[in-house]
């Protein structure tokens, strides 16, 4: 597991908002419209993120642009890792503001492990994990929802 702590005041504030918006009673409208270019560019950068190369303000502004105020935020994003073996997937945990890489033997925390198979499939740029659902995002931005 490789941790990349994303410490920035922007992301701190943002992840507090994210935590509030994923808590019980938060809005439960997942955004299913196609993802925008800024967000997709952020996902591509995360694909091969080495420590120190992740621009945290990119992440924060992409997320803010993508998700409107009435829309539920994902708990995190799981995607295939292109750093090479032994790493398989990486997880951008939005509530803990951590980017972690995992190999085949390591298990991600409970809500996220379920997304591993879909992330590894290769057809999706990232899997957004919510409390009750997952939203698969293709490289062109189109989405598909999977109930958990």
């Amino acid at each position: 597991m490789r941790n990349i702590g994303l410490a920035s005041s922007n992301l701190n504030t943002f992840s507090q908002t994210a935590a509030a918006r994923t808590a019980a009673g938060a809005p439960t409208v997942e955004r299913l419209a196609a993802r925008k270019a800024l967000y997709l560019a952020m996902l591509r950068k995360l694909d091969s993120a080495e420590p120190g190369t992740v621009d945290v303000s990119d992440v924060a502004s992409a997320l803010e642009t993508e998700f409107g105020i009435a829309e539920t935020m994902p708990l995190g994003l799981v995607a295939r890792c292109y750093l090479g073996p032994p790493y398989q997937v990486h997880l951008l945990d939005l509530t803990g503001r951590i980017l972690e890489h995992y190999d085949g033997a390591q298990t991600m925390p409970p809500p996220f492990e379920r997304a591993r198979a879909l992330a590894l499939h290769g057809a999706y740029a990232a899997i957004e994990v919510y409390a009750e659902r997952m939203v698969c995002v293709r490289p062109d931005g189109t989405t598909a929802v999977v109930n958990r």
Binding site: R114, L118, C136
Partner: protein, 569 residues
């Protein structure tokens, strides 16, 4: 001592012979018991096979009976349709016949008038009868009669009458009049509750039967409706959900003889089977939509022929009175299609039934035209247009189903052979697993062999014999000594027999190990085949996606060449 009694050798020989014979019989019994165990296993397996074959037979017999019943009943329903509504067919034929006779000019106006008045009496309540009278009156230029007849036809069924006259006027190139009748038709339509005859409008747009004016009215109205419906919250979701159910109805079944070993050995099989059936659906989706767009559309060259086809559809396919019988007919036809499988037929029909409902919303009308063209009365051209208009919803449903299928395939498979269970991961080393099974079987064999011990009767006999011998010598009792010797001989034979018992167990366990190992090999080999097939079928999801993405509405709204020239001039 004089009181010593000479021990008779002959008695001991007898005892020895008897004991040897006992030993032989014991070994034979052991061998028989071993054989019995093998036979018992064989009988159990055969009984299983017999039970499966029996249940399969019962099921196929039931299906054959249901099929026969459906075939008999459908004939009765069709006869009933002909008997009760056959006279409507007469009116329909005359409506198109009148138009064609006028084209050729071989029938007098009086004949046409008399015919139309005949049908007025033969078909009470039927809207087409006064419409035909109005048509005949219009041809004769009898305005007053035409107006009265039109009013009566409108009273009986305003929508079909408006559509009928729109098409008739279009047939005679009275474009402005046709557009006005169409406008009147649209003004009365509620996009959340359209009658089934609306599919004729789609047909006309798809085949270019409408002139530019009427087509403009239609396209504008449809765009407004779609805009209104899309602005409702949850609309896109409900369309996606509806198309998901529709696409799911295409899911095939996995045949009971496929992946037989995997099916028998894996508790995970039910999940694997469902996932395989879902992924095989991709090919069926490609076949269904590919079939709709394959080949040229057969559009009649002459406008009159094209309108006559539409008129025939309008007057023949959408009678409300006939609807219950048409629904019964469709249900029985579905049972026949499913070869007597009433459960599969009920599932398929519950989706197709929507195409026979009297009033549906516009998106449902599009779904019905796209997926159940026969029941909805939609031509091939209309199917194409309906699919093109629903494309975004179909794509969203297909994407959702694809993602769900990819999520559902089990990564780890449980394998169970006898009491041995193992979890097989995606990149598992099959040779290693075989070794684990072999080691397990060896341990179990050794346990069984180890349980064969010098115990029970022979042990007691040995102890008793020793004690008896001591007592006999001490008491100089020949009887005791003889008994002690006999007991010792029995104990000796028992001990000697242990080796053979263990050998028999080892042979049996070796056979079991071989069978288990072959079963495991077959199971893992089928697992490899399963994963390969699954990946291949999953790749088709991308093909289906590309095919659907390439569809656009404008490709399927045809224009007649004569209309294009009229617009330019």
């Amino acid at each position: 001592m004089s009181s010593d009694v000479a021990i008779s050798r002959a008695n001991l020989n007898n005892i020895e012979r008897t004991l040897s014979s006992l030993d032989r019989e014991q070994h034979q019994m052991l061998a028989h018991v071993g054989q019995l165990e093998v036979h018992q296993t064989e009988i159990q397996n055969q009984l299983q096979l017999l039970m499966s074959a029996f249940f399969e037979y019962v099921e196929s017999d039931r299906k054959a009976k249901e099929l026969q019943l459906a075939e008999t009943r459908i004939v009765k329903v069709r006869q009933q349709l002909e008997t009760e509504y056959g006279h409507h067919g007469e009116v329909r034929r005359r409506a198109v016949g009148v138009l064609q006779a006028l084209d050729v000019g071989v029938v007098t106006h009086e004949t046409i008038q008399s015919t139309s008045e005949d049908v007025m009496m033969a078909a009470p309540r039927y809207w087409l009868a006064p419409a035909l009278v109005a048509l005949a009156a219009w041809i004769r230029d009898d305005r007053e009669l035409a107006q009265r007849a039109v009013a009566e036809a409108l009273r009986r069924d305003m929508d079909k009458t408006s559509l009928f006259f729109s098409l008739v006027l279009r047939r005679y190139e009275r474009r402005a009049g046709a557009a006005r009748w169409l406008g009147q038709f649209f003004a009365r339509q509620d996009p959340t509750a359209l009658h089934r005859e609306f599919v004729v409008i789609l047909d006309a747009v798809a085949t270019g039967a409408f002139g530019p004016e009427a087509k403009a009215v239609t396209s504008r109205t449809i765009q407004e409706w779609l805009g209104q419906l899309s602005s409702q919250s949850g609309f896109a979701d409900s369309q996606r959900q509806r198309w998901q159910e529709t696409l799911e109805s295409l899911t095939p079944t996995v045949a009971p003889d496929e992946y037989a070993i995997l099916r028998a050995c894996s508790p995970t099989w039910p999940t694997m089977e469902a996932s395989l059936a879902a992924v095989r659906r991709n090919q069926l989706v490609i076949n269904h939509f590919g079939g709709i767009f394959d080949g040229a559309l057969d559009v009649p060259l002459r406008l009159e022929d094209q309108i006559d086809d539409l008129l025939t559809t309008l007057v023949a396919r959408f009678d409300v009175e006939e609807l219950p019988l048409r629904q019964q007919e469709a249900e029985l036809a579905t049972i026949i299609e499913c070869r007597g499988d009433t459960q599969a037929a009920a599932k398929r029909f519950s989706v197709a039934q929507r195409a026979l409902e009297e009033a549906v919303d516009f998106p449902t009308l599009l779904t019905n035209a796209a997926m159940h063209a026969e029941e909805a009365g939609a031509s091939r051209g209309t199917q194409r247009l309906a699919v093109a208009m629903s494309r975004d919803w179909i794509l969203a449903a297909h994407e959702t189903l694809t993602a769900a299928t990819r999520d559902s395939v089990p990564g780890e498979i449980d394998v169970k052979i006898g009491d041995w269970q193992h979890v097989v991961g995606e990149d598992a080393d099959h040779d290693k697993i075989a070794k684990v099974l072999a080691a397990y079987m060896d341990v179990e064999a050794e346990k069984r062999v180890g349980s064969v011990r010098f115990t029970g009767g022979p042990l007691l006999a040995a102890v008793g014999g020793a004690l008896g011998l001591i007592a006999g010598i001490a008491a100089a009792s020949v009887v005791l000594i003889v008994l002690a010797v006999a007991a010792a001989a029995y104990a000796g034979l028992g001990y000697h027999g242990l080796g053979r018992k263990r050998e028999a167990i080892r042979t049996e366990e070796a056979l079991k190990k071989k069978q288990a190992s072959e079963k495991l090999k077959g199971c893992l080999s089928e697992l490899v085949d399963y994963r390969e097939e699954w990946s291949k079928q999953d790749a088709r999801a991308e093909e289906a996606r590309e095919m659907l993405q390439a569809i656009s509405v404008s490709q399927y709204e045809l224009a007649r060449p004569d209309d294009a020239r009229a617009v330019l001039s």
